[in-house]
């Protein structure tokens, strides 16, 4: 009879670890020495301003939707630090591949507020993006932009360009093969790409525990052969630091990174959703104490870099900017119906000329 060896006597052939990064406590206190850039108060103020802007913009967008002037819209309430932290770590020449909830990153990259409104208002002209011409539009089929990011990064590698592809998606997206296929390939070729999971705990009504049994989402990088790090996604300083490090490593040829930004979706999934159906309000209420804007404000106030007057001025500036964008959005005239044929092919095949004419004459 063969002897049964206890499992713990089998040799260990690999060990893995996942690190967690946080610098600011929910009350704005320092939890561990922050990275050097944190002494650049101007930078932190710009992160703060960007978060406040997108929160106010989201509020306005929802109001427009509720009054029938915008289509379905996804707010990033409570998650602003993730997209802002990541986008602020990118260079212009890098390529952003965002998901539908990453307006904050797109705005940081130069996309105009009225363009975002046009897009969600159902007008393709919203995709005449004023952001970098090479950035991708926000992706609606969850996770399907991850292979694009790997392709973009492979192009950079092939051309020896010191550029990085930065791809954002949610926790639900990590359940898709697309995401793992892309990470696996990126690992094989040590591609200059950074994958960022905005883990807001929910994929519409499905909580993380029904999405995955894995302890962290960051560890999904381990199977793909590169570093995954978990970051406090409500800490803008930690997000900016993690993204800066990951992007620098990718740019230097040290391969891809995965960042799991742990945050919480304080709002409904979209304006078409009612989160109260599946999520107790007490849970949401309890998470408000972690939210990123108050936290960074408390830190800045503690450094004497922010005060009530500055806050009032910022709020007023945001309102003016948003109001002007809404005005431009609402004033945008209708689009000629036959333009649906524009940009379908580089040159419209003549066989479709009759269809285009039909639209022109009958609509």
């Amino acid at each position: 009879m063969t002897k049964n060896w206890p499992d713990n006597q089998l040799p260990v052939i690999a060990r893995f670890e996942v690190r967690y990064r946080n610098y600011l406590a929910p009350d704005g206190a320092i939890t561990r020495p922050p990275p050097a850039f944190a002494s650049d108060i101007g930078l932190l103020v710009s992160l703060y301003r960007a978060m406040v802007l997108v929160r106010a913009f989201d509020l306005k967008a929802v109001a427009l939707q509720r009054t029938g002037r915008l289509g379905t819209y996804a707010v990033s309430l409570g998650q602003e630090a993730v997209a802002v932290g990541v986008a602020s770590a990118m260079r212009d020449e890098d390529v952003l591949l965002p998901s539908y909830r990453d307006n904050a990153a797109m705005i940081w990259r130069g996309v105009k507020l009225e363009e975002i409104l046009l897009f969600w208002g159902g007008d393709e002209r919203g995709n005449h993006s004023s952001g970098p011409v090479h950035d991708f539009p926000c992706c609606v089929p969850v996770g399907s932009q991850a292979p694009h990011a790997a392709g973009v990064a492979y192009a950079f590698k092939l051309r020896r360009e010191p550029r990085v592809a930065v791809c954002l998606f949610g926790d639900g997206a990590t359940s898709k093969g697309d995401v793992f296929e892309a990470m696996n390939f990126a690992g094989v070729h040590k591609l200059p790409v950074v994958f960022v999971i905005t883990n807001n705990q929910w994929a519409i009504s499905v909580p993380l525990r029904l999405q995955t049994a894995s302890e962290t989402l960051a560890q999904k990088a381990i199977a793909a052969g590169f570093i995954g790090e978990q970051v406090d996604g409500n800490d803008a300083v930690a997000m900016h630091a993690a993204a800066t490090e990951a992007i620098a490593a990718a740019r230097d040829g040290r391969g891809p990174r995965l960042i799991e930004a742990v945050t919480y979706r304080l709002g409904d999934h979209t304006t078409a959703d009612d989160a109260a159906r599946y999520r107790p309000p007490e849970e949401v209420q309890a998470r408000w104490k972690d939210e990123p804007i108050g936290r960074l404000r408390a830190y800045l106030v503690g450094r004497n870099a922010w005060d009530k007057a500055k806050e009032e001025q910022l709020v007023a500036e945001c309102q003016t900017r948003i109001a002007a964008a809404v005005e431009r959005y609402l004033a945008t005239g209708p689009r000629a119906p036959e333009t649906m044929f524009d940009h379908l092919y580089a040159t419209l095949p003549p066989v479709y000329a009759a269809q285009r004419r039909d639209v022109e004459e009958n609509h």
């Binding site: 993006s129 011409v133 090479h134 089929p141 990011a149 790997a150 492979y154 697309d178 296929e181 940009h343």
Partner: protein, 326 residues
């Protein structure tokens, strides 16, 4: 000029495109050292290096999605899927991204990619290796679906597909990869996309086909000829967008039409051609439009596949019936 097989013509076109344009990148499963399961990419990795002739992990969605990313950066990716039965994970990327990247960015980004896929049965392959679901792809706005029927067409149309500024699915007729031989001049000259080819002029009936079925269709035209029936043979070549004018002109001339395809009948592309003729060529018809197609069954395993694939006899019978109708 040398006689080459269709698969060799594909290889010649790939090599030519890669030599002409440093942005052309070939990727897929086993395309490198192994030269592809059908040997379409043989020798390319030795010549152009492993960065431009890339063995990908075994992940079809990835291959198509990488192509979108590469193409968005101005490269010209040519992805290979080993068999049509494995294209379905790519359909997500084709429908949602490749075919509409230009449109959804209002021209800011484009997707000049090619996805090469062996198409159809008749090679005694295992299950899932013999599918012909081109109609599904031809339904997608913004895509091009191209299928050659000879080595000359494979060379010229593949070059055109690679040079095209939009995404192209290039379906290669597996059954005639080696059976079709022809003289191909490696002159770098492309054939036109979106254009059907009149392979044989005729008076009495128009036979329309594409891909491997063109061989049986031409043989049927020969047979009909011995019966005194003069058949015109059209190779559609590009299914999306397809050359409506050539089809309508031919039917206007012959008054009769038989559409031949290997794919299952229901929802097959033959229905689209028949609808076009019904809409815009009805008055020239002297007989009902006939379709000779695969059956609405799963593509059978090798022992029955020759009964599924339209035979010369079935095409001849349809052509004869069309001509006798009054």
């Amino acid at each position: 000029m040398p006689q080459v097989t269709l698969i060799e013509a594909v290889n010649m076109a790939l090599a030519r495109a890669m030599a002409d344009d440093a942005g052309v990148v070939v990727l897929g499963e086993d395309v490198g050292v192994n030269g592809g399961v059908f040997r379409a990419t043989v020798g390319l990795q030795q010549r152009f290096g492993p960065e431009r002739v890339l063995d990908t992990p075994l992940a079809e969605l990835l291959i198509s999605g990488l192509c979108v990313g590469l193409a968005s950066q101005g490269l010209k990716p040519v992805g290979e899927i080993q068999f049509m039965g494995f294209i379905y994970p790519c359909v997500d990327q084709l429908v949602n991204h490749a075919s509409r990247l230009r449109n959804r960015t209002q021209g800011r980004l484009s997707c000049p990619m090619v996805l090469r896929v062996p198409h159809g049965g008749g090679i005694r392959a295992p299950e899932h290796h013999s599918e012909s679901t081109e109609a599904m792809l031809a339904h997608i706005p913004g895509l091009r679906v191209v299928i050659p029927s000879s080595p000359e067409h494979a060379y010229g149309l593949l070059l055109a597909a690679i040079r095209d500024p939009d995404p192209v699915v290039f379906l290669e007729p597996t059954r005639i990869y080696r059976a079709a031989k022809g003289e191909v001049d490696d002159d770098g000259v492309a054939l036109p996309l979106d254009a059907a080819f009149v392979l044989r002029e005729g008076r009495d009936v128009t036979l329309i086909s594409w891909g491997a079925m063109v061989r049986e269709t031409l043989a049927a035209a020969d047979a009909l000829d011995t019966e005194g029936i003069s058949a015109e043979v059209i190779d559609l070549a590009t299914l999306k967008p397809f050359d409506e004018d050539t089809v309508l002109a031919s039917v206007a001339h012959t008054g009769r039409c038989v559409i031949v395809h290997e794919a299952a009948r229901t929802g097959g592309f033959g229905g689209e051609i028949a609808a076009l003729i019904a809409e815009r060529g009805l008055t020239s018809l002297l007989a009902p439009i006939a379709r000779v197609t695969g059956y609405d069954t799963v593509m059978p395993l090798p022992r029955l596949e020759q009964h599924y694939i339209p035979s010369v006899g079935r095409i001849v019978a349809a052509g004869r019936a069309a001509c006798r109708f009054n």
